[in-house]
């Protein structure tokens, strides 16, 4: 399992966990919410781009996510993990958007995703040239959100199975099954595509 940095910090800075910041926002220091926004903006943007496939729309969704989170901040239980709660809101926003519009995933935006999966499968990064990356990207595009989302959260979001379970509101066992199945499906789709070429 991928180890992960819980919080971002610059050199010499003290790590302040999300939940502490949220507590202080709830206690009146609303300006501190900006720290949360800046901390999670890149991660949520990447996540929503994978779901939506359109950077501009993803930006709007992320902005709405932060605003919704701010409005409902009192419903957050500070004993729980803030990031999972925030991702859940982003997930709902993205799904609502997908229901309205069709999913448009661009291959370029999937490159990071592709490389992460490849490296996790002990495939040397050098072996995966751009062409190959695009090919795997095409395979991932063929996956439904049901499978691509947990895969994205695991490899790009660097979330644990438990956190993914909280975000997607699925049993942990289902999360594991979906990730494994998604990996197999990507492999199968890619093999089929190669055969056709």
């Amino acid at each position: 399992m991928i180890t992960k940095e819980k919080q971002e910090k610059t050199e010499g800075e003290e790590i302040i966990n999300d939940e502490k910041i949220v507590e202080s926002v709830l206690n009146g220091s609303s300006e501190r919410y900006r720290e949360i926004v800046n901390r999670y903006h890149p991660k949520l943007l990447r996540y929503t781009i994978t779901l939506i496939g359109n950077k501009d729309k993803a930006e709007d969704i992320v902005q709405e996510t932060f605003i919704k989170a701010y409005v409902n901040l009192h419903s957050f239980d500070t004993k729980k993990k803030f990031s999972s709660w925030l991702y859940r809101i982003a997930h709902n926003e993205a799904i609502n958007n997908i229901r309205k519009y069709r999913r448009e995933v661009s291959l370029e935006e999937n490159e990071l995703f592709v490389n992460k999966i490849a490296s996790s499968q002990n495939v040397s990064k050098e072996v995966i040239d751009n062409e190959k990356a695009l090919e795997i990207g095409r395979c991932i595009q063929k996956l439904s959100i049901k499978y691509s989302e947990p895969l994205e959260l695991f490899y790009i979001g660097e979330k644990t199975y438990e956190e993914i379970s909280d975000i997607l509101r699925l049993p942990i066992s289902t999360v594991g099954v979906r990730i494994n199945r998604a990996k197999q499906m990507v492999k199968k789709i890619c093999t089929n595509l190669e055969g056709k070429l």
């Binding site: 800046n38 903006h41 943007l45 902005q63 605003i67 701010y70 409005v71 509101r169 049993p171």
Partner: protein
């Protein structure tokens, strides 16, 4: 993404919050919602359980399953007797309870399929226990939910009841709600398991109405 861009986005969101005069919903709103969800969930669970016990009560009284082995006519009678409307309410209740239960964190941790199974088991187990303790009879006696408890012990081609009187060519059965029915029989009438009924036997009958009288084609004694 560089630091400047990150700061820009943070400022953008905070600016938007100020511009649209967005405020946090107070904590009490969420407390009220949580309490309401729990209360509605409990009420739904209770109502569905009571409805299931009413359904079991009606099934116990006429035992539609007893007709199943009596051929196609038996199956047709079975379909007529089952309290479909009551079980439709139970299914609806289970569905609504399940949807409410999905709001709780425990629901996805145990799995939605398992949750549905657990709800069905809980509702029907408690419903069964209530029925064993004659909850339906008590409700009927006190005039509660009479529409839901009301049911027939006989139809155009069937009847279920206890034999209270025997004549040469007829017998009388006592049905639910102390209604009596005179059942006529002739040489064509089949008696199962091969002998005529006795007083106090519980019988299920397949028959027909002829000239305002109920004639039995088949009389089956039910094991008590």
């Amino acid at each position: 993404m560089n630091l400047e861009q990150k700061d820009d986005f943070g400022a953008r969101v905070m600016g938007e919050i100020k511009k649209r005069e967005i405020e946090m919903k107070p904590r009490w709103v969420f407390t009220v919602i949580s309490v309401a969800v729990v209360a509605i969930f409990m009420i739904m669970l209770l109502l569905t359980t009571i409805l299931s016990s009413f359904g079991l009560f009606r099934i116990r009284h006429v035992n539609p399953f007893g007709f199943l082995h009596l051929g196609s006519t038996g199956w047709w009678i079975f379909l007529q007797i089952i309290p479909w409307e009551l079980f439709s309410f139970v299914v609806l209740g289970i569905l609504l309870t399940w949807l409410l239960a999905r709001r709780f964190d425990i629901s996805y941790k145990i799995g939605f399929g398992f949750l549905a199974l657990a709800l069905v088991s809980i509702i029907f187990s408690i419903g069964f226990l209530l029925d064993c303790n004659e909850f339906g009879e008590q409700a009927e006696k006190n005039g509660i939910a009479t529409i839901l408890l009301k049911h027939d012990s006989s139809g155009e081609n069937w009847a279920v009841g206890d034999v209270i009187n025997l004549e040469k060519e007829s017998f009388t059965i006592l049905m639910h709600n102390n209604r009596e029915l005179i059942v006529h029989f002739d040489s064509q009438t089949k008696f199962q398991p091969g002998q005529q009924s006795r007083v106090s036997d519980r019988v299920r009958i397949i028959g027909r109405v002829k000239d305002g009288e109920f004639w039995a084609n088949l009389v089956e004694r039910e094991e008590k």
